[in-house]
């Protein structure tokens, strides 16, 4: 088997080729094992690949397609922004997936999915045949949801809402903003990746300003009238950064009309705000490959079967993580990891004689408001008839003791270590 695998890699690099089973050329190089292909090596996809490979103990070939050689987590990128982590501490490689679990990690883009032939075409031109496909491409940004915003505009007004270096650019701009200047933040409309994320980001920027730029102001022009953990954040902002952060609801500003990244302005129905630094996070949809593969509905996200995370459009495909419509489950790394395990079990049960147990899902999202002031929200879920439904939930309370808040923060540090190992081995 390993000889075949190496053989594939060697030739695939050289040009277009269909690996293994395809509609009319049976098992040319394949050892005859069913093959699972996973698109996207983020929180969802890497977990799915790892669990499928680990638990099938060699009975399935697992190919993971991910363009990046290193994955920088969005989770804890806010802590990097605030100076609580260094950049390398949020980067993870795929080495363990290959060495410990025999996963073939192919660093390429999936460009198209031929659902009839059951194969994925890569940007390099090669095709990879699958028996089951897991699609986990995360999100793409709808730049034009904010008039005037674009990839070019994101240079001056970074969204930093996808894995990668953009958060380092944002950090640089925050740290070098002129003394006493104004930072303007435009959070995204629902539904979006990481509901408390924009507000944790605001907290971390305030934390930096408090030390380096104490007369700075932060103006938040929200398209939403309310947001995740609102009471907890607003209490914390008052307590730690009294007066620095002004959150403005659409009831007051009347709606975001557009941005001008050269003039550094954000215009609302009511007023134009001049920024010295800014972050604009536009509306989102499932990662582009999901729509290209025909797996999205009108909402731009992928409908799934709540028991197995199978696409309701194609039963040979499972969609997990941010790209999926997981109803009550927020789009988080924790959720993606949890959904991946349910999909992995369903895939193994379909392709091997593994037993499938009823799916269970969970999520917890921690947020850091200031040094040692952590809060959390979480829930457990089950597969209902048509949707994933919550079973039990919790949220931190306002007015909690400093000890409890510190413990909550420490928990989040433990979680980051735990989930990183659970995703990448």
């Amino acid at each position: 088997m390993s000889i075949n695998r190496r053989h594939f890699n060697a030739i695939a690099g050289a040009g277009a080729l269909t690996w293994g089973l395809s509609a009319n050329a049976p098992a040319l190089f394949s050892a005859g094992k069913p093959r699972v292909v996973v698109i996207g090596g983020g929180a969802g996809g890497a977990t799915a690949a790892r669990y499928i490979a680990k638990d099938s103990k060699g009975a399935l070939d697992v190919v993971l397609i991910e363009p990046n050689r290193k994955y920088y987590t969005c989770f804890f990128s806010n802590l990097y922004l605030g100076g609580f982590r260094d950049y390398e501490s949020i980067g993870h490689t795929y080495e363990q997936l290959a060495t410990a679990h025999g996963i073939n990690v192919v660093h390429d883009w999936a460009e198209a999915v031929d659902r009839d032939k059951k194969q994925v075409r890569l940007a390099s031109g090669a095709n990879v045949a699958y028996d089951r496909l897991v699609v986990a491409p995360g999100i793409d940004l709808k730049y034009d949801s904010v008039p005037g915003y674009s990839v070019a505009a994101s240079q001056n007004m970074p969204h930093a809402w996808k894995s990668g270096t953009e958060v380092a650019l944002l950090k640089h701009q925050v740290e070098n903003m002129k003394q006493g200047g104004t930072f303007v933040m435009v959070p995204p409309p629902n539904p979006y990746r990481c509901p408390p994320g924009p507000y944790e980001r605001i907290s971390m920027i305030a934390h930096v300003f408090k030390q380096k730029n104490p007369n700075a102001k932060i103006v938040v022009l929200d398209p939403k009238p309310k947001f995740s953990k609102q009471g907890l954040f607003q209490e914390g902002w008052e307590r730690h950064y009294g007066g620095m952060i002004e959150w403005i609801s659409p009831d007051i500003h009347g709606g975001i009309k557009g941005v001008d990244a050269d003039a550094m302005t954000v215009t609302t129905d009511f007023d134009t705000f001049k920024a010295d630094a800014a972050s604009v996070i536009p509306a989102q949809s499932a990662g582009a490959i999901a729509a290209k593969a025909g797996l999205t509905n009108d909402s731009g996200w992928c409908p799934i079967n709540p028991a197995t995370m199978q696409s309701t459009i194609d039963k040979n495909i499972h969609v997990i993580g941010d790209a999926s419509i997981a109803s009550a489950m927020p789009k988080s790394g924790f959720s993606a990891n949890s959904q991946a395990k349910s999909a992995a079990m369903a895939v193994r049960a379909a392709l091997t004689d593994a037993q499938a147990f009823p799916a269970r899902y969970a999520n917890t999202c921690w947020s850091l408001i200031a040094t040692n002031d952590g809060v959390k929200v979480g829930a457990t879920y089950k597969a209902g008839e048509a949707k994933i439904e919550p079973t039990n939930k919790f949220i931190s309370k306002t007015g909690e003791s400093d000890d409890l808040r510190m413990q909550t923060y420490e928990e989040s540090v433990g979680w980051y270590d735990g989930i990183s190992k659970d995703i990448f081995g």
Binding site: T364, E411, G414
Partner: protein, 109 residues
């Protein structure tokens, strides 16, 4: 082992003593089912037994494991995340988890 656990978890020690009567033994848990359920736990608790803000839960004896989980389920021990997770677990679930985690040896020292 149980004694150490009692000291470290003084608040729940009483359950350990009652527990020997309330729950007969180790043989009711299903290890394979426990392994499946454990995938929900290892997002936070590391299988290696490493602890960094979240305590290790591998290699426990099954009785104390059951009792501790039950204290969360009864909300007799604080921690909202653990209480919420435990609330969704049946006796059989917990015993299966206990049976599975008991088979894992820590690789941390």
């Amino acid at each position: 082992m149980i004694e150490t656990r009692c000291i470290s978890l003084a608040g729940v020690a009483i359950y350990l003593f009652l527990g020997t009567h309330a729950w007969a033994g180790d043989n009711e848990g299903d290890v394979a089912f426990g392994e499946y359920l454990s995938s929900q736990c290892v997002t936070c608790h590391q299988l290696s037994g490493a602890s960094n803000g979240i305590p290790p839960i591998v290699g426990w004896d099954t009785t104390s494991f059951y009792q501790v989980m039950d204290t969360y389920r009864q909300k007799a021990r604080e921690n909202k995340a653990m209480q919420t997770i435990a609330a969704g677990l049946s006796d059989h679930d917990i015993k299966s988890l206990a049976a599975y985690f008991a088979t894992i040896e820590t690789t941390e020292n």
